[in-house]
Symmetry: C2
Subunit: 232 residues, 2 copies
């Protein structure tokens, strides 16, 4: 039924996220504790919390993901670069940036691509750059063209959504995955609340999931795995 | 029924806003044309569009409002300062910044106030600084304490909402207005769609309104004014 290789170590597919404006330091502590408990791949936090999360996770395998231009993608390019670089200075090993959605929907794809390339160039090679294209605001052609721009700009992932304007769909992930064609990975994010959501998006080609419901999702998977083993 | 002084030149109460991620250059042209037609106080745009709007409005009385830390308020303080300063460099005469909501809801009001004061200090004296406290995420006590922090930090306006997480209410404006007690002004923003909304918020003490429906609102007011004059 499922491709076992996708599900191997499901926990490591998750960027465990707390990205609301009202997120507090106590929330960041809880987020990082949950990430350690479940050995998630990373925590995703707003820039004001990156250094705090890095400090809390320093003795773990959990990475910290910083964001840039989040969630609108409509700040100046120099400000996006500064946010991305400062995130890395604070200890983030991955940056999830938001592309300029206004440029994408109006066909100014060269500007969008050039901006991504500038941010890629400003970051150390080992830092993973993911680019959010807010797929829910794009038609299928725009999703394809934007994914190509992300590839040409040298980023490592195309990511569906910020989560603030609707969630990832299987159709979006399929489009992004087919366009990526193995050159970059696909991260699905936004509205992922259940194990069923997660498995559907992974089957469609996502290799990373962003969610704030990650602990409940992987607990459910553990329950099912345990019950399968018992029945063998 | 209405305080005439509040309604005098209603158009000049409006910051006409286009703040979505998918806003295009064509949208900014339309926004600025509408602002000129209706002689709004300002247009409110994301940082990538500030210079464009300033250029389009250079021969008009319409100001351009820049934003900082919009809409989450959860970027680093140095990034907020840079965004605000760059907005002014691009020609904005007012900056609407988002306070750190996580600090406010967790009672770290000194940090929130100190951040606002740093941004105020980084801006030229003649630039108006408005501080968004995202009142819909705060209880009444937090709205009061946050407004006091805005006053102490030296800003000119406290502003209810970004518009991304629910709209301004009469209760919020009343609370902010009573706390401000004439020391700063109150801007209501978020979900203001009708003349009725606008008048209720102005009556509650707001002196500025942020809306993307500003043209329809002031056209309605003009219709009513014209019909009153006809009936005299």
């Amino acid at each position: 039924m499922f491709n076992d290789s996708i599900l191997h170590d499901l926990n490591r597919r998750f960027d465990h996220a707390a990205l609301h404006s009202e997120t507090t330091e106590a929330d960041i502590h809880r987020l990082c504790n949950e990430a350690i408990t479940h050995n998630f791949y990373s925590v995703a936090v707003n820039p004001i919390w990156t250094a705090t999360a890095v400090s809390l996770l320093k003795n773990s395998d959990v990475q910290v993901l910083g964001v840039s231009g989040f969630p609108l993608g409509a700040i100046r390019t120099d400000s996006k670069i500064d946010e991305a670089v400062r995130g890395v200075e604070d200890g983030a090993t991955e940056i999830d940036m938001v592309a300029n959605i206004g440029w994408i929907v109006s066909g100014q794809m060269n500007r969008a691509e050039s901006e991504i390339a500038m941010i890629r160039k400003a970051l150390p090679k080992e830092v993973v750059l993911k680019v959010i294209i807010e797929a829910g605001k794009l038609d299928t052609d725009q999703q394809i063209t934007a994914t190509k721009a992300v590839i040409h700009a040298g980023a490592q992932f195309v990511k569906t959504c910020t989560g603030f304007f609707g969630g990832a769909t299987v159709d979006q992930v399929t489009t992004l995955h087919n366009t990526a064609n193995g050159q970059i990975e696909v991260k699905a994010s936004g509205g992922i609340r259940t194990l069923e959501d997660s498995l559907a998006l992974l089957k469609a080609g996502a290799t990373r999931l962003g969610s704030s419901a990650s602990p409940a999702i992987v607990r459910k998977w553990q329950e099912i795995s345990n019950s399968m083993h018992k029945n063998l």
